[in-house]
Amino acid sequence: MSATAAPRVIPRRKRTPAERVKSLVWHVALLAVLVVVLYPAFWVLTASVKENSDILTNISPIPTSITWDNFTAAFDGMAGVPLWRFFWNSFVIAALSVVGIVVSCSITAYALGRLEFPGRKAMFAVVIATLLLPGQVMLIPQYLIFSEMDVVNTIFPLVIGKFLGLDAFFVFMYVQFLRGIPRELDQAATIDGAGHFRIFFSIMLPLLRPAIVTSSIFTFIWSWNDFMGPLIYLHEIEKFPLPRLLQSYNNTEGVSNYGGMMAMTLLSLIPVVLFFLVFQKFLIKGIATSGVKG
């Protein structure tokens, strides 16, 4: 592991002119790619302060004139429900999802990765199978079950799976992580008289911290962006999270008010981008070791 962390450290020395040129070419090439890649992001950033007519016709990120009306329209929300309400809805779902994932995945993965009991291998096989299984196949019966339980139009269907460890991806990630922890640790603790619960809480949970942080960040971001769940289960506008709001707004007021639409879009992306900026070091390390998809 540590061998891969810093394998290519160049010792500090004077660089030759040829190296300088090479380095310059490298930077120019990457910056050029970067400009293209980040163009849509910059574009939305400034589109939010452009006049409506300017948005469609002016392809430059620099606005011809600046207006803050778009943000006024965005903060008004939709159908009399203010924007903060949708932020709050999104936040509640994301926070519950994070708590659910951390609690359920850590106990499920501890059992699957560190304990021995009949049926363990079969259960782990089910986890692996659901990893590649298209979720659409369970969508319809799940909907029927939730409507039988009378919880459609609540956030229950959106978060319950996370509390039951059904997110195969994170269970798998935690198991892989736990398997990397030396067996001697629990054996030593066992000899000292610690039971499995003690070992779980005092040894495994603290050591799982990197996995917990990575999974929390991704759960938050994925839940913040999730659209299909809210589309199927939430029908009252007061309960909409942001993606659902954006979609409805896009179909109604957004048709005439591009600016408001862009301002709302920008505001909805801010938490994800902020999250990313704060945790980016951790995130990219986490993906490289666990293979998370963005």
Partner: protein, 329 residues
């Protein structure tokens, strides 16, 4: 809480002395010492939420949807057993052909293009340069926001008639208008959106590239191998497990694209069904038309298709993927 195994564990492992984990497992198969029974109890206790959840929300629903796929169940009207009629009806359904065509086209375009872009940039970003962390983060960022509804809406504006894409392309003499209204090219919007998220596989490629021992490249360089030769004969084989992982995950996910396709094309996959993704059609059948039996048959066809593709990939990987440090049988 659980049975204290400090005194019982060593004798339980048998005559072999200090028990290693593997010996313990072997011993557990023969008899069940008290410590094992404790472990069992804890194991099942910890697994309880997952077991309940799987039965109620994954394994159960899978079997149920398999059953539904043999009925003409309608959310309001109900339904009854019709055997294979849904599956035969699919092949007469013009929408099925359209959805399959759109989805396959997307998979075949988006997956290779995205992976080539991500490998290329990953190779640039595994050199030791100043500001490398900034570039890595900047290239990764689109992956986090691209699948959001917000970006799909931005895409609609970027590719609108007279919008940025239309104007930029007209500089090069292309007067086809915005991609969004043009059924011949509208799928490219989604392909481009997918390529835009190349940062996610890129980071995985970077991790793989950093594992390739420098000595291999140095030795080949001494022997006079060109850059291209080293890429084909060292980088690609050494990277093949990572390539396999990325191809597999990207393909499986590409088959299931929903959000952006739904926002850009609507439930009808407009214009002229050119963005009618398979999952969008499943959604429309199940939750707009409420024909849940028929939609279940569609969903099972997707499972079969993804299953077959995955299987072929694993088969192919046996010959194509090189695992360093293992004898490749």
């Amino acid at each position: 809480m659980s049975a204290s195994p400090s005194t019982t564990a060593p004798p339980a492992a048998g005559e072999a002395g200090a028990p290693t984990a593997r010996e313990k497992r072997g011993a557990a198969k023969r008899r069940t010492p008290p410590a094992r029974r404790g472990e069992r109890l804890v194991g099942y206790t910890f697994m309880t939420p997952w077991i309940i959840g799987s039965l109620v929300f994954t394994v159960g629903p899978m079997l149920w949807s398999l059953y539904l796929s043999f009925t003409d169940y309608h959310l309001v009207l109900g339904g009854e057993w019709i055997g294979l009629a849904n599956y035969t009806a699919m092949f007469d359904d013009p929408m099925f052909g359209r959805a399959v065509k759109v989805t396959l086209l997307y998979v075949l375009l988006a997956v290779p293009l995205k992976l080539i872009a991500s490998l290329a940039v990953a190779m640039l970003l595994t050199q030791s340069r100043r500001g490398i962390g900034f570039y890595r983060a900047a290239f990764y960022m689109p992956s986090l926001i691209a699948m959001s509804v917000g970006i799909a809406i931005v895409w609609k504006v970027l590719f609108a008639q007279g919008g940025p894409q239309d104007q930029i392309m007209s500089w090069f003499g292309w007067d086809g208008g915005g991609f969004i209204g043009n059924p011949d090219v509208s799928i490219l919007m989604l392909v481009l959106l997918s390529i835009w998220t190349f940062g996610a596989p890129m980071v995985i490629f970077m991790a793989g590239l950093l594992q390739v021992p420098d000595e291999l490249h140095e030795a080949a360089e001494v022997d006079g191998a060109s850059k291209w030769h080293r890429f084909v004969h060292i980088t690609i084989p050494m990277l093949s497990p990572v390539i396999f992982f990325n191809v597999l995950m990207e393909t499986v996910h590409a088959f299931q694209l929903f959000g952006p396709a739904f926002i850009i094309g609507g439930t009808a996959g407009g214009p002229a069904w050119s963005t009618l993704f398979y999952t969008v059609r499943i959604y429309a059948l199940a939750f707009v038309d409420l024909r849940m039996g028929y939609a279940s048959a569609w969903a099972w066809m997707l499972v079969l298709a993804v299953g077959v593709v995955t299987l072929i990939m694993f088969r192919a990987a046996k010959n194509l993927v090189y695992y360093a440090g293992e004898d490749n049988r």
